[in-house]
Structures are given as structure tokens and as C-alpha cells.
């Protein structure tokens, strides 16, 4: 059994599903599972973390922590971790976790295995694997030296457990110093779409060069909104100016691992496949039956996407209304 700290994440008072994945994996293996959560008005979220497996939730709730900064969050979590002596510290390879986890590792002078996709507990140690070369290969990560083992996980890689509403966590309040930091966040501009981030979404609908222009992505947005999905794009579509870079899936964009990836008019360049091949189920819609994307697709539809996508959207809508 290991003493595990899960670095939980929230944005605007909503916990990240990726945090539930970590709690579920740790508690299912019978570990003493703690969570730490920082923010403003987040004390009430402790209970929900308990339903996913946290035994104790350590909360730093302060107006000064309303916005994430790597500097402040890392210092607070680092001081806490040092005071407790954890065997294992887990976080998510989300936009926030990517920034945060290395800073904690530096302070503890330990290694961090980032963007892992598998996790096993062995006594008070972990065994993890991660993709390398954007998923063209995977490797096991060996930890060298003493101190807690740290790892961050690709969202959706471990799976979200069912919450147990009968369980709750003990909530412990932390009162860290929240001043004296050099960096500060002055403003947050919300994303316009209201759709989930492409790296965190359970379903991603992506378009390629065959979308022809930016306006045509509307049909993918409509499908995405029926499914609660994010909209992604290939590099070809981004370089043609159809979508912003933040939507790009691939080796020079984002690496995603959703439960369902629907590739529309994407031929499947090696760099794109690298960014989405760990998706659980892949659907490809393309007019070219020889397109490389069909080699990794679980379901292939040889069809004109402009005819197929609206029909699919209608079918998904029927299913959801059922």
C-alpha cells in the first residue's frame, strides 16, 4: 500500500474529470489516497472528491488563489507534500497540470514521468508507461533515486470511475501564505465556444483539409454540440487557416486520447495519427478508400463528408432524444 497524493484540479468551481480518474485508480488499488485542491470557494468540492476515492482532501481556499499561477500553486503544494511524506504524487497532464507538476518535482528534487497512459501500483511504488515520439512508441519509466515518485496522466487514459455517493472525504483546511509571489494573473478571457478542451473531451470531432474552408466546420460544430464533444483539426486545416492552432491534433499540436475520435476528411498523415492513435474508438469518414486513416480506424465510412456528417448528426440527435 502506498500513501498517495492526488493533485486535484478545478476551473471555475468545477472539478476536472481527470482528477476523478487518478483518485479512482489509486483508491481501487487500496492505497491511502489524499487529494489537495486549491482555489477560491472550493471547500465544498471536497465531498465530491471523496465519492471518487479520496480519504482526506486538503483544501487551500482563498480569494488569492482564484486564478492559477504555477508559482503560487507549486509552492503551496510543495510545502504541504514535504510536511507529509508521500510515496507517490499523481497529477493530470492537462493544460494546468503540465505547467504545475514539473515545478513541484523541481522543489522535491525528484523525477516526474509526464503524460503517462498506464498505471500500476506495486507495494508503495508505481509502474507507469508513456507514449514517446508522439505515440509512435511507448516506454516504461524507471524512477532513479529516493523521494516520492511523481507521474502525470493523459486525460481519459485511466477512465473515470463511478462515484460512490455513500462515501465522503475528511476535509482538512490548509492556510498557506498566499503573498510574496512574483507572477500574477490579471485577467482571464473565456473561450467563446463553451465546448470542452480538445485534450479533455470524451469525444472529439475533427476536420481536415477536405473541409475546404472555415465556414464548413459549422457542420462539425453541430455534431460536436449534439455529442458534447470538442472540435479538433488536422495540421493541414490549421495551416490553411480554417481553425486556430489550439484545436490542432497531432505531433505539433495536441495529443488526445478520447473515448471516441471522429476524423472527417482527414487523410491521416503520420504526425496526425501520432496525436490521436490512443483514442479508444476511431471513426474515419473520407472519400478516398486508400487514405491511411482507415488503417487505424475501427469504423470506416467511405463517403463524402458533406453528405455524411449532417446525416450522422441527425442520427446522433435521435439517439440522444431516445
Amino acid at each position: 500500500m502506498a500513501k498517495v497524493l492526488v493533485v486535484a484540479e478545478q476551473r471555475d468551481g468545477r472539478l476536472k474529470k481527470s482528477s476523478f480518474e487518478l483518485l479512482g485508480a489509486s483508491s481501487a488499488a487500496g492505497n491511502e489516497t489524499h487529494a489537495i485542491l486549491l482555489g477560491e470557494g472550493v471547500a465544498a468540492l471536497g465531498k465530491e472528491l471523496g465519492q471518487y476515492g479520496a480519504k482526506t482532501v486538503h483544501v487551500a481556499d482563498s480569494p488569492a488563489l482564484k486564478f492559477y499561477t504555477g508559482e503560487a500553486h507549486a509552492k503551496i503544494i510543495l510545502d504541504f507534500a514535504k510536511s507529509q511524506g508521500f510515496d507517490v504524487i499523481l497529477g493530470s497532464h492537462t493544460p494546468t497540470g503540465r505547467d504545475l507538476m514539473p515545478r513541484i518535482a523541481a522543489g522535491l528534487n525528484v523525477g516526474l514521468a509526464s503524460d503517462c497512459t498506464s498505471l500500476k501500483f506495486e507495494g508503495n511504488k508505481i509502474k507507469v508507461r508513456r507514449p514517446v515520439y508522439a505515440g509512435k512508441a511507448t516506454a516504461e519509466v524507471e524512477f532513479i533515486g529516493n523521494g516520492p515518485q511523481m507521474a502525470s496522466f493523459r486525460p481519459n487514459a485511466l477512465g473515470v470511475p463511478k462515484p460512490d455517493t455513500g462515501k465522503s472525504a475528511e476535509v482538512a483546511n490548509l492556510s498557506p501564505a498566499t503573498s510574496g509571489f512574483k507572477t500574477k494573473v490579471s485577467d482571464v478571457a473565456k473561450g467563446a465556444s463553451g465546448r470542452p478542451d480538445v485534450t479533455e473531451a470524451a469525444i472529439v470531432v475533427s476536420g481536415g483539409r477536405a473541409m475546404k474552408n472555415a465556414e464548413n466546420f459549422k457542420i462539425l460544430e453541430e455534431m460536436a454540440d449534439v455529442l458534447g464533444a470538442a472540435v479538433g483539426a488536422s495540421r493541414a486545416a490549421v495551416d490553411s487557416g480554417f481553425r486556430p492552432h489550439r484545436d490542432q491534433v497531432g505531433q505539433t499540436g495536441k495529443v488526445v486520447s478520447p473515448a471516441l475520435y471522429i476524423a472527417c476528411g482527414i487523410s491521416g498523415a503520420i504526425q496526425h495519427l501520432a496525436g490521436m492513435r490512443t483514442s479508444k474508438v476511431i471513426v474515419a469518414i473520407n472519400t478516398d478508400p486508400e487514405a491511411p486513416i482507415f488503417q487505424i480506424a475501427d469504423y470506416g465510412v467511405v463517403a463524402d463528408l458533406f453528405a455524411e456528417v449532417p446525416l450522422l448528426t441527425a442520427e446522433f440527435k435521435k439517439l440522444k432524444e431516445h
Partner: protein, 256 residues
């Protein structure tokens, strides 16, 4: 200003990855090496900052085996003034690389700002910027799309779901660039020729205080992804295809 850029050399994105004979790494024979694409935005930003501040210099650093000097030359050909190469093993992890870069920066007289790419595309760990800034002792802002330069820096930082935040930091600071920050220039032929004559200072790990114990993780037991079984092709008219696909996703794959 004394401007620094840290870069990494990585296999070209077209590379088909093969494993070495004992699965302890990849087979590097025949690989075409490039500067990691995100680092190009870092180099470009450094050059633009130099152009706005007369008397500034841009120094490019890279830590790695001897081959990484080629990537330093690429940055020099884009227009950087000096290069520094810290020799560390091929198998160095993010922590050792960060210690090497921070150690080399500590030997410099004055460092005003450091740029890096937000991650390298080989291991995609996205760790070195934060680690090295921490070891060098300056604030770090990652995934930066743009900077307003002044007495302090106002950085537009990308967060999830298409949202942004403005992060303010004093100088010196470490800025990790995201694609879209600028449009990197191509090296002109005369600049490529000039770059060959520019000085690249060579440092050993021990010169910058890096020890074997700075390696904290090691990759092993490499595997190639298992070949995917051929999927189902769904035939028929578009309407029938749509119906059948949704049925399969719901009943067989159970993902909707």
C-alpha cells in the same frame, strides 16, 4: 538586452520510429534531426526582441550529444549571435537537461530573458522550461502566445477550452513559446554561410555542475504500438451508413 534561447534537437516529424535491438531506445540510424518546432518560435521571438532593442545579443543554448550543435547552427543561421553547447548523454532526462541549461546560464554575466519552446516534440514532457527556470531562479510563464514588453512582461498564456489568461511577470523571466506567437523566419543562404563561422562555446556537464545523480528518470522497455486490427468498413448509401455507424457506436463500441 542579453537574450537567451534554449533549444532541443529532435527527430523530424516524418520519422518512422524503429526500436534498437534491446528495446532500450530507438534506432537513431538514418534519422533526420531538426530543431524542435516550438523552439523556432522561441528563436524568432528572441530575434525580434533584439531588433527592437539596439545593442542586444541573442545566445542559443542546447544540451545534448555532439549532434545538437547542428541545431544550434540552424538558430545561428536564423540570426542568433552566439551558441553554447553543453554536452550531456543522449539518454539524459528532463531534469538533467534543465540542470545543464540552468548551469550554463549561471556562468553568463547577465541574463535578462530566456525563451524556449513550450515542449519538445520527441518526448513531449513539457518539463524543461519550468525546471530550468526554477534551477536558475527566475519566474517562468508557459504556453505563451504573445508578450507585451515593458518594465514587466504581460504574457498572453493559452489555457484550456480556447481561453487565455494574462500573466504579469518581472524581468528576468523565462518564456515558453506556443505556436502562433510569431511567424519564424527562414535562414537565408548568406546567413547560413555566416552561421558556420559563429562561435559555439563547448561545455562539459561537469563545467556546469551536472552530475550523474541529476538523472531522475530513465525510459526502458520500449514498445511499438500494437498494429491495429483492420476496422469495419460500413457500406451503403450515406443515410444507411449513418444509421449503421450510430448503431455500432451505441451497441457494439458503447461510446455514445
Amino acid at each position: 538586452m542579453n537574450i537567451y534561447v534554449c533549444i532541443k534537437q529532435v527527430p523530424d516529424t516524418e520519422t518512422k520510429i524503429k526500436l534498437n535491438s534491446d528495446n532500450t531506445g530507438i534506432d537513431t540510424a538514418g534519422i533526420k534531426w531538426i530543431m524542435s518546432p516550438y523552439d523556432e518560435f522561441a528563436v524568432e521571438e528572441a530575434l525580434r526582441l533584439r531588433e527592437k532593442n539596439a545593442g542586444s545579443t541573442v545566445t542559443v543554448l542546447s544540451a545534448g550529444p555532439a549532434r545538437v550543435v547542428e541545431a544550434i547552427r540552424t538558430a545561428l543561421a536564423m540570426g542568433a549571435d552566439h551558441g553554447i553547447h553543453v554536452e550531456i548523454p543522449e539518454t539524459a532526462d528532463s531534469n538533467m537537461s534543465a540542470k545543464a541549461l540552468a548551469g550554463a546560464l549561471k556562468k553568463e554575466a547577465k541574463v535578462d530573458i530566456v525563451f524556449t519552446g513550450k515542449e519538445a516534440i520527441d518526448d513531449g514532457a513539457a518539463q524543461v522550461s519550468q525546471l530550468a527556470a526554477e534551477y536558475f531562479g527566475i519566474p517562468c510563464v508557459t504556453v505563451v502566445l504573445g508578450v507585451e514588453y515593458g518594465a514587466s512582461l504581460k504574457c498572453k498564456r493559452e489555457i484550456e477550452g480556447g481561453a487565455f489568461e494574462m500573466v504579469e511577470t518581472p524581468l528576468p523571466a523565462w518564456i515558453a513559446a506556443q505556436k502562433g506567437m510569431n511567424e519564424p523566419r527562414y535562414a537565408s543562404l548568406p546567413n547560413i554561410m555566416k552561421a558556420k563561422k559563429k562561435e559555439v562555446k563547448a561545455l562539459k556537464a561537469a563545467d556546469v555542475g551536472v552530475a550523474d545523480s541529476d538523472q531522475k528518470i530513465r525510459f526502458k522497455n520500449f514498445e511499438l504500438p500494437p498494429p491495429k486490427q483492420a476496422g469495419k468498413k460500413i457500406a451503403g448509401e450515406p443515410a444507411a451508413q449513418a444509421k449503421e455507424l450510430v448503431r455500432l457506436l451505441h451497441e457494439e463500441a458503447k461510446v455514445v
